[in-house]
Amino acid sequence: MASTIAEELAEKQREISVAEFFERNRHILGFDTLSRALVTSVKEAVDNSLDACEEASILPDINIGIDRISKNEYRITAEDNGPGIVKEQIPKVFGQLLYGSRFHTVRQSRGQQGIGISGVVMYSQLTTGRPARILSKIGPDRPAHLYDLIIDTKKNRPEILREEIVSWDKGTGTRLEVVAMGKYVREKRQSVLEYLRSTAMINPHAQIEFREPDGTVITFKRASDRVPQLPIEIKPHPEGCELGTVMKMAKDTESYRLSSFLVGEFSRIGNRTAREICSKALLDEDLRPQDLSRGQAKRLLQAFGSVKIMAPPMDCLSPMGEVLIKRGVKKEIAADMVATSTRPPSVYSGNPFQVEAGVAYGGELPKEQTAKLIRFANRVPLLYQQGDCVITKAVESIDWRRYGLEQRGGEGLPVGPVVFLAHVASTNVPYTSESKEAIADVPEIRNEVELALRECGRRMQAHIKKSERLQKLKEKEEIIRKILPLIAEKTSKVLDKPIPDISPIIAKIMDSVLIDGKSDYADGFYRVKIGVTNYTLHSKTFGLYLRFPSTALIEDASPQLDESKAGLIAWKLRLGPNDSIAISLRMGNLELGDYDMVECYVDKIDPEKVMGAEIWNGEFT
């Protein structure tokens, strides 16, 4: 007898395996093109390694290798020094989709769905038919376990092809090897190299070594020995909860009463607030949460909105901090100036979030190109869908002409030697889609990104102005020190006459006191040298001030300083015409990159007669 249509459909429905699901959702999972498949594979492996190291407070050492096997076939190797994975868990972590430890927590973390690394195994298996090889070790005196496995695509279960105990000269760590279809591209915004560079930037505590298919090895050096604080888990804040979530939580809770459910399962609800919510929702405090109906849950949700509930706790976020971002950027971008800013934590729909931004300017950055934008969410670089991201929208809506950049019509990405970066950290980053490549345009987040970028912009503008003044100063110096003496010498030679004294002309060209500060860093100290020369025809008496980071320790000042206060040193100087003095000192307790520019100020002197220093307007004496 012929089966019914329903039966036939049921038959088909059963056949929709994980493999099919994967095939259909390639684009969501990040495997839609050959080049992106390589990026995604490396990304998932690195995300896992960084998370694992962070949880175990280990400074990550990550090795990535890509070898080309045939035209579009690559072997991807990812190795870390993380805590390793216990034997029983290895097959599940790599051979079962949606298996993960972070699926049900509310915490700032890199991955969340657990599709990540097993997705890579699945992709390689589907495209090349080859198993993944995993090697992991959880302690120096423990054996290393090696697995060759594939995913049983019908049952979504690991199928182990080989299982062995091997020796591995590593304390702890995990190594994954897959062979997958892909395409290796270099020098593109969306490439493995760019992904790793950005990752190194936002994770300065990680050391990443990358071997390209042609054998080139690129090392992204560690710039900080501090493992970032592990973000703390928090319970969901009522404000951001959706109906389904509340219903599911009510079903799963171990509480017997609605009030204790509210207090126990949500953040920022105490006994009093719980009572208030229950009365607003017209619900009995003693109601069994498991019996909560749809309608009741809806009322509960409405009550969440009408009762004043404290903002969620912020210690669940782990921002990088201005100093660490600066170090991360400085080591990967050869710029003249890097300004960074970390905003205080904020909240959108009950979800805590925090924005950090940076602007790198000048140096070796290309002058005639559109500015580059580097986006991060929870310390993961976002490479795709730039146009849809709130960070992009924030950058494009700022009039960068006001900060000294070229920008057509005062909107869009500006042109110039500049790189913008922004990091959004949150327990729940609002991505535009499951592929997690763009952050949705949430007004609160956009506002914070703009504020952070504008602050960096102001410092960039100050830097640009200062550089321009410095450039003029350099030109003048060149004229008086090099060109003019040569003009005098050559002219005299042509005419066979004695060389005239040109110092009065120098005074005419300069007609000011020249202050020229330089600094360099070595052996834990910034050495600062300031040359002061009086190129006027008169004697000058004035105060010279030097700004320094308040944490710095000033040593060996010569001549001895006359005064020193928080962040400011002062000398009283007296120079006759053509006199000059060399000031030097060193600053301790600073790391490379902590001190940007020698900033000098003067007072009690005509501002027109000074080059290389600003007039001091603040209070000092």
Binding site: I479, I487, A488, K497, K508
Partner: protein, 361 residues
């Protein structure tokens, strides 16, 4: 008289030295070399520099470098004149390699400085024993010249019988001590922008059939080519017509032959032929002869608009033609006439155009 170039260079150095001794910031003044400072000289009927002066002062970095390079260049030329040597402009550029940070970054800079020196001293670069490396263009036609040749002695050359199909090459120096114009048996000079058209007229025997002397300009003509045309025109009394492509750049070629170039306006009198007439391709020709065209590029349009504010193109003829071209949005090459066959240019176009100028046939 032979000391005049040295004297004039030393004058420049002396003025700088005087500034230094008097504790003034050294400077040099020279005529502003832009189109805003060219004026028509009624006597010579060419465009020369006006009264505007530019100052190169050691107060700015650019001015200081320019002064230093000027002094270096003066020293170099002085030594060269003292030892009876000469050099090409390119050689001088390479010699500046040894001038430390005063060296030129590209030859354009050193060429320009030599022109500045010409303007300041009112001498010619030939007087400074500096010559361009490019050779002049070619001539074919019944013109006889007598050239001083390398190994001494004179050689008489007829530019029709004594040369191959490429013609007689105009030397870099066409002054009287080097080149004498003996005579010409022809009715006019036709100066041609492109080699293709030059060859077409040679192949069609235009020089003989129309008693023309053909001069190939090779694009923007070198000084010696312009000087040669000027000499034939004024010494042998032959009228000159200029035949180029129909685009803004070609109009400038004509202007430099007839009116003088902006860059060399200090010697316009010596290089320009005010009687030279523009034959074509005019924008009107594009319409009248229904020629194949290309679209004007953005640069073309820009160049045409610049020409509208160039005093040399200030007469009714040019204003009308330039505006017409902007309206058309099109340009044509002289070889576009081949649309009507290879003989069309010599049998129809040129005779018609010449007679409209009151010449030929």
């Amino acid at each position: 008289m032979s000391n005049k170039p040295v004297e004039s260079l030393e004058d420049v150095a002396r003025s700088v030295y005087k500034d230094l001794v008097e504790a003034k910031i050294p400077k040099v003044n020279l005529s502003t070399r832009t189109k805003s400072n060219i004026v028509f000289d009624d006597d010579s009927r060419v465009w020369k520099y006006g009264d505007q002066l530019s100052t190169r002062s050691a107060k700015t970095s650019d001015g200081a470098y320019m002064l230093l390079r000027t002094i270096y260049t003066i020293e170099f030329i002085k030594e060269m004149l003292a030892t009876n040597k000469s050099s090409t402009l390119r050689e001088m550029y390479y010699i500046s390699e040894g001038w430390d940070f005063a060296k030129f970054h590209e030859q354009q800079e050193s060429d320009r400085l030599v022109e500045d020196l010409e303007v300041i001293t009112r001498q010619l670069r030939e007087d400074f024993k500096l010559r361009p490396e490019e050779n002049g263009a070619s001539i074919i036609g019944n013109l006889t010249v007598e050239e001083e040749v390398r190994r001494g002695g004179k050689r008489r050359i007829n530019c029709k019988d004594d040369v191959g199909d490429a013609g007689y090459t105009i030397p870099t120096n066409v002054e009287k001590d080097k080149l004498r114009l003996v005579d010409a048996d022809g009715d006019f000079i036709i100066a041609l922008e492109t080699g293709g058209m030059f060859d077409r007229l040679v192949e069609n025997g235009f020089d003989e059939s129309s008693r023309a002397i053909l001069v190939h300009l090779k694009g923007q003509p070198a000084r010696s080519t312009r000087r040669m045309i000027k000499r034939i025109n004024s010494e042998l009394g032959l009228p000159v017509v200029v035949f180029t492509d129909g685009d803004p750049w070609s109009f400038r070629i004509y202007a430099s032959v007839a009116y003088g170039a902006i860059k060399t306006a200090h010697i316009s009198e010596y290089l320009a032929t005010p009687d030279a007439r523009f034959l074509g391709i005019t924008p009107s020709d594009i319409v009248n002869y229904n020629l194949p065209t290309d679209k004007l590029t953005d640069q073309d349009v820009k160049a045409l608009n610049t020409e509208l504010t160039d005093p040399r193109f200030g007469n009714e003829f040019w204003k009308g033609e330039i505006k017409l071209q902007l309206e058309l949005g099109k340009k044509s090459e002289q070889q576009a006439l081949a649309k009507y066959g290879l003989d069309y240019v010599t049998e129809t176009y040129l005779p018609e155009k010449l007679s409209s100028l009151g010449m030929g046939g």
